[in-house]
Structure formats: structure tokens, C-alpha cells
Symmetry: C2
DNA sequence: CTGAAAGCGCTAACAG
DNA sequence: CTGTTAGCGCTTTCAG
């Protein structure tokens, strides 16, 4: 039961272990017949290479790190799911997919070229800036997804949140809304800013005034959307539409509306951002913006793979198109501008 | 920039690399002063051990495999999320958490003691039976979560789906329902059977007749819940309550009800299973059963950890309590039995 | 308390 | 086409 090595095979085949190594690695300079013979023996012995030994000599770990800002707080299930799915689809079983929360590290020392052939950072907040800078500095093949970086030069794949937010707010305006509120995302998240900027851009482009009391803070979770909507509903002058910075908060917001005996979209319109799996099944189905996390992850994994193979990295920022998804949570107000 | 080894440290410290190794591993038989000196040098050099080398000699990989039946189909985002969170919380950074879909393997050869110190299989269907049998046979520390096994003897941690289903159906009955339908889960999943059994158990215990046309198939996704409810709604005689075998299907089912201009729970009651994160925020908030995946994963990881440390495995089946969560999706029918 | 030497399993010159 | 030899970085006897 104890594991078989190339030496065992060598003995049985009557050759040197070097020949076995070459045969198993499909070296061209080896007799096709002996190669087959060796492979047959290896098969019959259920030989599996010792990756630690191979890693040691080849200086490759066969590890692919997928690092999230955190695994405890702020990461939504759908987000984790799409990212893992996207990356896994690409690497299959050529690499080990190692999932990590950056905030689980006390020290980054053990994150290095020896332990990881490459790193994908799924960045959700500026909190992982030190890690990204560390990774960039040790010169490990690296791809940073989701959060646009300014300082560090790396391969950076990000959704175009701002234009997505712009389009969904533009959509509200086109349906005749002029009293539009925003429930913002978590403070410090770049996406929070980008979505707010898209909101403001649309408002100013169409010359719709922004009212301070209609800007409320959230933190991307259900509860904060719920709480935020209550604040808005309690205002003397209510908005007719609310842009929630993600779908989770939109769900919480709609709950708050319902609890007051009001209805979406009849009494107040609500839009979200992300297009979660459940968003089309809510009542009403949620108008939102689709952020292609799975696609970004897939492309990120492919890029990283090619960096590793070519032993050379590119550095650039690539934006991925976000898409307005129109459903039933927005009411058309007569006298609309469109 | 090229990485520093214990030999480099040895040279600087004026000792042998053996001594460095011992110092860094906190061997007791070493002079405390030299130990400190060596550690200081190691720190200043940013030394990080080469895990491939250490693995080779120690015959440990530091890899912890978390294997799902599939990563493509059938695994819900929340499920993946809770499992990863639970396991990660336990192993922190002592191990690499390697996430895998069993159906991504062409051959299991590379899953062995050399590559993994231990395995957690999050089993969702009988399709991974061959894998589990393989793992049991190579005698690797192993824990199987979520799906109850009959043949193989391993450490098996599972939610008590049947009693959960029993309790939620009992709840329907206690609220006066006697016309109760079920939308079943994916065929071939053990959980589908267990929940069906709990349903039947409650029905027979309280002597409520089960009607064939009120048993409809689903496959655990939103769409199938939607489709299943349409079938039920089109029946000449409708049930007053529907037990959906998971929350995703309940969401789809409620959508179908709403589309018909009917309301939950006024016109028809709906309950689910799983207690997804969003279930309390649906309208109406969903009555369901909580399945403690995160807890099961956490306990599973702890067990596996101890197997690895003690170099000895236990084999038994442990059930985890599922919990009825009462919310607003069930109407009380007057003349109820309770 | 410390060092010399061996070896984990594998690949890669270098010779033939 | 094949074998000999060395060595990847680390831990562990075995001697001092």
C-alpha cells in the first residue's frame, strides 16, 4: 500500500529510474516501445507522481491561489460562487485551486513563488491594498480582479460599475423619475464610489437635482438596505425611486416598503446592482445591473495561466461591460422625459 | 531576490544548516541564545521555508481538500459559501484549502496521501459514491459531510433532513392544512428522499391523505419550483399548502403564484427547506427549515484535523439538528387541528 | 548542545 | 536512445 516510486518501476522494467522519468514525461528521446512498456507497468502499479518531489526540483508548486479580501464579512455567497466557478472552469485539474481570505493571514511570508505558481486576487476593498503591493513586489504572476487599482501596476480586470450605475439611474430618469435617492454601499469599497459616481453622472447629465437627505449610507447587506429605506420613508418628502447599490440591499429595502403597507413599484420604485441569482424571482422582479464576475474570473484565470506558461506578465486594466437588466420594479411616471 | 534557504542563514550565523533547521523548528535541544540569534537573522532575511522540500521529507502536503460533488451544477451558492466558511474558519493558515469538484477529475490517481493530508467530501449526490469508496480504500483521513452513507464506513456528518421535513409539514398540519402538496428535489439526491420521507411521515402520523397529483418533481432550482407550482395551480383541485424541498424552489413557486394574481399565504401557503440568507427577506418571509451546513463543515474540519494529528480516524455517523423557522408564508386555516 | 552525512522522489546535465 | 551522477531544500539519525 505504501506508494510506488519511479525506482520501483525502473526495477521491474529493468531500466534506470531516469528512463522511467523520461518515459512518463513523454520525452521524445526515448524508444517508443520501452516507453509503452514503462507506462504499462506504471499503470498496473497505480503509480502517481510525488508532487512534492517534482515541485522541489522544478520549482513549481502547481498551486493557484484565489484570494478574497475576506471570507467572513462582506463577501456575498453569489460572489464567491461565481469566482470559484469561473476560475475552476479554466484550471480544471492542472492546478490546485487554493481559496483564501487575505484577512486570515498574520504575515504574508508564506505567500511566495515557491508556494504559489500564480495568484488571483478578487479584491473587494482597499483593505487588501497592502497584500496586493506585497504580491506585486515579490514579482509573482498576479491578476487582480473586480477592484480598479490606481497605484500598483498589475493586470487588473474590473467591471465598469460606474457606467452600469449610470445606465440604471438613466433608466429611472427615462421612466419619468426626478426624485431619486441612493442607498450607498460599504464605505471604503471602491465599488461604492464608482456606483455613486455613476449615479451622480446620470443625475447631472440629465439635470436632475441631487438632494442630500436622499443620500443614505449602507454597507451592502440586507439589513442596511432595510434600515436605509426606513430612513427614506420617514422623510417628510419621499423620493419616487431608490437606487440601491446592490441587490441584497434592494431586497432589504423592498421588505421595508412592504412592511409599511406600501408597494413596489406602485408607491416607490427600487433598482439594484449585481443581478443576483434570486433577483429575477423576487416580487417584483428586480431591475438591476449585471456584473459579470464569472466571466471576469474566467478571463483572469486564463491570463494568469498564460503568464505562468510564458513566464512573462502583462500589466493593464481591462473593463468588462455591465449590463442593464430591466424587470418590474420601476414604475413609469407620466410626464416622463422619454 | 531569489529566495533564501537555511544554508544562507547558517552561513551568516556561523553554524550548520542543521542547527538552523532545529532552531527554526523550536527544537528543545538547542541553546536559547543561538536560537534567538538564528531567528533574528531569519527574520531579517525574510526567510520563508520551502514547503515542497519540507513536504518531501516529512511526507505531509499541508493540503486540505474540500471536495464537492460538482462545482457546475446543483451546488447552490449559499451551500458553497457556508461550507468554505466553516472549513476555513477552522484551518486558518495552517493548511491550504483546496476546493475541487469531483466531477472535474478524469482519474483519482492524483488524490492521495502525498497530495492531501486529509479530505472533506461535501457530498450532494450518490454520483460521488465511487470517489468516496476510492478515498476510503486508499486510507486517507476522510470526513464525508451532508449525505448519509450506508455502505462505506467513514466519519459521516449529516443534517437530519427527514426530521426537519417532518417538522415543517407538521407545522402546516397544525395550522389547519390538510391539502398539502410537495415539490420534490433533484432525483438521485439522498436529501430528496429524506425530505420526501419526512413529508410522508408527518402526513401519515397525522392521518392526512397523500394525493398522487400533488406530488411533483423538481430539481432544486428556481425554475423547477416555478414550473412545479404552475402544475399544481392548474389542477382542478388545488392544495392549500405546498412544501417545497428547498428555498430556491419556494422562491420560484411563490413567483408563479404571484403571476397568477394570487397571493402567498392568503391564497396558498408555501414552505421551504434550507433557510437561505435571503429567505427572511422575501415577501412574504419564508417559513422553512435551517440546515446547519456551516456548523457541519466546521465540525468536520475539526474532526479531520484531529485525525491528522492523532494519525487515527474514527468512523461514525453524526446527525445535526435541523430547525424549524416560522415566518409569514403559512396561513392559519380555521378549524385547524391545533 | 552542535555538526556531518544521508536521503525523501524527482529531473537534468553530461556521457556514452 | 539510455545510464550515471548530482542536487533541489529540508529533516533526521548518529556521533561527538
Amino acid at each position: 500500500m505504501s506508494s510506488v516510486t519511479i525506482k520501483d518501476i525502473a526495477k521491474l522494467a529493468g531500466v534506470s529510474h531516469t528512463t522511467v522519468s523520461r518515459a512518463l514525461n513523454d520525452s521524445p528521446l526515448i524508444n517508443p516501445e520501452t516507453k509503452e512498456r514503462i507506462k504499462a507497468i506504471a499503470d498496473s502499479l497505480n503509480y502517481a507522481p510525488n508532487y512534492s518531489a517534482r515541485s522541489l526540483v522544478l520549482d513549481r508548486s502547481y498551486n493557484f491561489g484565489l484570494f478574497f479580501s475576506t471570507l467572513h464579512k462582506g463577501t456575498s455567497a453569489g460572489f464567491l460562487y461565481e469566482a470559484i466557478k469561473g476560475v475552476n472552469d479554466v484550471i480544471k485539474d492542472q492546478f490546485n485551486l487554493i481559496v483564501r481570505g487575505i484577512d486570515d493571514y498574520k504575515s504574508f511570508h508564506n505567500v511566495n513563488r515557491k508556494s504559489f505558481d500564480g495568484l488571483i486576487v478578487m479584491s473587494q476593498s482597499a483593505s487588501d491594498q497592502p497584500f496586493i503591493e506585497y504580491a506585486a513586489q515579490i514579482d509573482i504572476p498576479l491578476v487582480v480582479l473586480n477592484r480598479p487599482l490606481d497605484s500598483v501596476k498589475v493586470m487588473n480586470l474590473v467591471p465598469d460599475d460606474q457606467s452600469g450605475a449610470f445606465r440604471v439611474v438613466e433608466h429611472l430618469i427615462s421612466r419619468g423619475h426626478r426624485d431619486i435617492a441612493i442607498i450607498e454601499g460599504k464605505a471604503g469599497f471602491k465599488s461604492t464610489e464608482a456606483r455613486r459616481d455613476g449615479f451622480r453622472e446620470a443625475m447631472s447629465r440629465y439635470e436632475v437635482p441631487v438632494r442630500d437627505e436622499w443620500i443614505v449610507r449602507g454597507n451592502y447587506d440586507l439589513e442596511s438596505g432595510h434600515a436605509g429605506m426606513i430612513v427614506l420613508l420617514d422623510l417628510p418628502e419621499r423620493p419616487t425611486a431608490v437606487f440601491c447599490s446592490n441587490d441584497d440591499m434592494a431586497l432589504g429595502a423592498i421588505k421595508a416598503v412592504t412592511e409599511r403597507g406600501l408597494r413596489v413599484p406602485e408607491d416607490i420604485s427600487v433598482v439594484g446592482f449585481d443581478d443576483h441569482l434570486f433577483s429575477s424571482f423576487m416580487t417584483p422582479a428586480l431591475t438591476t445591473v449585471r456584473r459579470p464576475i464569472e466571466e471576469i474570473s474566467r478571463v483572469g484565470a486564463m491570463k494568469l495561466l498564460s503568464f505562468i506558461e510564458k513566464k512573462q506578465v502583462e500589466k493593464s486594466t481591462v473593463y468588462f461591460h455591465t449590463e442593464l437588466v430591466i424587470r418590474d420594479s420601476v414604475k413609469t411616471i407620466t410626464g416622463g422625459t422619454n
